[in-house]
Symmetry: C2
Subunit: 338 residues, 2 copies
């Protein structure tokens, strides 16, 4: 049934499982060397932090983007592992900052091993990820990667600044999420393309794809924080509200609200944010101004732009198969429920 | 009076001041670009952490080692700055770990801006230093640098393991200090040489020099913690004792003590280490077994080895001047009083 112009329906779930298994094997192999002669406790913590059922989205993106551009070899999975190392390094430090007790249902590194070990293990993962990127993706790859990590830190600062500030704009919101998570996802894609020796046009196409899915992912996260709190997780108040974060549904409502409702929203955001009643009122007001629907519409638009960015790639053969997987991955973001 | 074969007596203090000024100018210039578009608070913290009167020993080593090998241009001072960035990144994280309130008589970043800002600013400096090293010293330079940073973290873990453990050996002690501080000083020297395009023999010579002065520096630090506590700082108990660290004077005493004194030392180390009387007894016992003198002898030996390592370099001309400065710097470690 197959002709060279088409390919069988791609299987995102199956591909994800295969790629994840290869990336995890590359990680274990790499860690055996990298941790040789290191203190056993450091090794234990690094393994504990890395192998806790993470979805490995970033390595999957690196692998698919490199494959789209024609390279698929053993080194690719080492490169992909480096992105997971960095991601986990930031999670370990985030948990220190948030004093988080649990992640994915198990104790966080900071809860299990204390502040010192968590900061140091995060630093080790950070250094090791850069080492691998420099080795495998060269100076240009390292430059993109370091800009993304610096941007991530900057995004955290910018977000702290926007806490509870209802004069924040949609533009500032997108700037923060691009800095915080978007640029790293973008770099994951563009370094994958660079690694495969892709030309400028393809590197830019995949960088744009990464930028749009990174933003879409965050918008969906905002929505899930509202919806998840009510329907799924049993929590009665969304975390983002408690933390005073400006999320897209809220920003959309703030933009459209009349003076009185805007005043009410302001009071809710600057008042006691742990009251269930305050949260219920906030959700009502956002709903009244179609904040949830329009945020969902924004996410759909971003995913459409991500898919549009893939136009320079062939729709057939091996390349086409990986492009089709990237499209499915983008669409999956919209269907995400947790 | 000058002939090409000799050079005037070198002026370490004057050179240090000139190099420090150039490195600090390079830092300010680089930060203007690197922090452009970043959150103002991040910029403020980075400047606060970097410009607080640090001695700039690491940048000085990079500059002198590169000059010994014939390269001295504007990029060298940027490269040197990267080592200071990393050093300060680790100080900022160390102060989080130690919950330190003061550094050089001013509030630490964590005391002034809180845990979140301190962890993030440290991460930013870490990422930025690697970016610069990768850019200026290439893949091989980055590899050496990343190994040194990974080793630093590993040394911290190894040190935690040795706390209060009187079965620790001198070999373990040197392994820990090499990991914690020595390897980074070693990398500062060898990357300086690499940057200047030095051959293998010279790179190895300068790496050995860095290794020995790094170790000597730490041994002198141990001694100053004992002597400083009594004579200078007005503190009555050394920090290392309070923290249960195995220092070289103590290790020398443990090695030579008879069974009864060894038992006493063990009791002092595992008992309440905040008692002035316990500390006084410890100092007496170390003195009885000449622990301070033999640690000082070890430091002198390490400095002699550092100077010996410089043999492959010419003693005359521009090269000789910088070699002479490296020798003075090594000797200065022995004369250090704070």
């Amino acid at each position: 049934m197959n002709t060279p112009e088409t390919h069988p329906p791609v299987d995102l779930r199956g591909t994800t499982a295969t790629v994840t298994a290869r990336v995890e094997a590359a990680m274990r192999h790499d860690l055996t060397t990298a941790l040789a002669g290191c203190d056993p406790l450091l090794g234990e913590i690094v393994h504990y932090a890395l192998f806790n059922g993470g979805k490995r989205i970033r390595p999957l993106l690196t692998v698919l983007c490199s494959r789209c551009c024609g390279r698929d070899d053993a080194e690719l999975y080492q490169l992909a592992a480096a992105f997971e190392y960095l991601h986990v390094a930031t999670l370990v430090h985030d948990d220190v900052i948030d004093r988080a007790e649990q992640r994915r249902g198990t104790p966080t590194v900071v809860a299990r091993h204390g502040l010192t070990a968590a900061i140091l293990a995060g630093d080790w993962l950070h250094a090791h990820s850069m080492h691998l990127i420099g080795k495998l993706a060269g100076g240009r790859g390292l430059e993109i990667f370091c800009q993304a990590t610096a941007s991530m830190v900057n995004g955290e600062f910018a977000q702290l600044r926007l806490i509870g500030d209802i004069t924040g704009t949609e533009q500032q919101y997108f700037e923060v999420i691009r800095q915080k998570t978007g640029n790293l996802i973008r770099s994951t894609c563009s370094i994958g393309a660079l690694f495969a020796g892709a030309d400028e046009a393809r590197r830019t196409a995949l960088a744009t794809y990464g930028d749009r899915i990174g933003a879409a992912f965050q918008v969906v996260d905002d929505l899930l924080d509202f919806l998840g709190s009510a329907h799924r997780t049993g929590k009665t108040i969304g975390n983002d509200f408690i933390e005073g974060k400006l999320t897209l549904p809220l920003l959309h409502a703030l933009e459209r609200a009349d003076d009185q409702d805007r005043h009410t929203l302001n009071q809710l955001l600057t008042g006691d944010r742990t009251r269930t009643e305050a949260y219920r009122q906030l959700v009502d007001l956002i709903g009244r101004y179609a904040g949830f629907d329009s945020a969902a519409q924004t996410a759909r638009q971003l995913v459409a732009e991500a898919i549009q960015a893939l136009a320079p790639f062939h729709a057939s053969g091996q390349e086409g198969e990986n492009v089709a997987l990237l499209k499915q991955l983008a669409e999956y973001i919209l269907a995400r429920t947790k």
